[in-house]
């Protein structure tokens, strides 16, 4: 069970449709300051269902829609899709590939889909929880956040272990 591909459109600085393919193993992402690397991480947290604008450095959720630049007008929606390789059957669904999508419109409306069929946030959450990705707080380490686990109170470190257990 691993990430196979990620498609972004209108998410933060990803104004143009962008696709990244992944393999098992270690992928390193490089680039200058402000080019969009952390935005990529935000996109993955977001498509997995993050409900906290703060966790993806935003004030309100609409902040994730491409806001325009001198050369390009703002867009009306942000859309991210993440495809998992499910050949190992980790997620109990009869699909070798599972695609999760999330769309946010400027109006504030939100849409989720699994393999193209519209669903609720709760369906996405259940699916991820079946796949052992219930709580990704210790598996996605945001920029500057490495040593929060040392500052956390003892009880919060317990939670990390409990969620992984």
């Amino acid at each position: 069970m691993f990430l196979k591909s990620l498609v972004l459109k209108g998410f933060k600085s990803f104004a143009d449709t962008t696709k990244l393919d992944f393999e098992p193993g270690v992928t390193v992402v490089v680039g200058p300051n402000g080019s969009g690397k952390s935005n990529l991480v935000d996109a993955i947290s977001w498509v997995l269902g993050s409900q906290s604008p703060h966790a993806i450095r935003s004030g309100k959720m609409e902040d994730v829609i491409f806001q325009g630049s001198k050369k390009r007008a703002a867009l009306g929606r942000a859309e991210v899709s993440l495809v998992f390789d499910n050949e190992s059957g980790t997620i109990p669904m009869d699909f070798p590939e599972i695609k999760i999508s999330r769309t946010l419109f400027k109006t504030g409306e939100s849409e989720y889909a699994i393999n193209g069929s519209v669903c609720r946030l709760m369906d996405v959450a259940d699916l991820l929880s079946d796949g052992g990705m219930g709580k990704s707080q210790h598996t996605i380490v945001s920029q500057g956040e490495v040593d929060t686990v040392l500052n956390d109170r003892s009880e919060e470190r317990r939670l990390v272990i409990e969620e992984a257990a």
Binding site: A15, L20, V28, V30, M133, S142, D147, E156, A164, A165
Partner: protein
């Protein structure tokens, strides 16, 4: 539920001690329960002694030492209860050359069971990846993913520099 936590804690604590030897050769690291009489509510504490220094409170450790202790903890959780993937955004920013090598040794402990996506500015980390993605902004404000190199042994220094700048 207490049992799942206690079993997980015992595995993760053993793994933490082992990984700590990789991160801090000659040092000593332990996880302990803050309140062993109360397994349902106890927190988890970290004790860390880098090398031959004496054990002291975590806040007195240096920036680089704290990053490495935190990563040792997170990796010991992931090693015992593998997540399908793990994303690290510039977690190596505070590490000097020696600790960077130790961090990469820790990463190697996870790669069999967990797919890793690592954002980094450090050359050694780039060289340790199996795959490399370059992010840039040739048009200001709009991210472009400019290349993927399969098996970064084939990536010349020139290409790495080009991706970084």
């Amino acid at each position: 539920i207490a049992n799942a936590f206690e079993v997980a804690f015992s595995d993760i604590a053993a793994s933490f001690e082992q990984l700590f030897q990789i991160a801090f050769p000659g040092g000593e690291g332990k996880l302990s329960l803050s309140n062993p009489e109360n397994p349902l509510e106890t927190g988890v504490d970290i004790t860390a002694r880098p090398g031959e220094k004496s054990i002291k409170r975590l806040s007195l450790l240096s920036g680089g030492e704290r990053s490495l202790v935190a990563l040792t903890f997170l990796f010991s959780v992931i090693k015992c209860r593998p997540a399908p993937f793990c994303i690290l955004d510039e977690v190596d920013a505070a590490l000097d050359d020696i600790n960077l090598c130790r961090f990469l040794d820790l990463v190697a402990e996870l790669t069999n069971d967990t797919q890793l996506l690592i954002i980094s500015h450090q050359k050694r980390t780039m060289e340790a990846g199996d795959y490399l993605y370059g992010i840039s902004m040739p048009t200001e404000g709009i991210t472009k993913v400019i290349s993927e190199k399969k098996s970064s042994n084939q990536t010349s220094n020139q290409e790495t520099n080009q991706l970084e700048n």
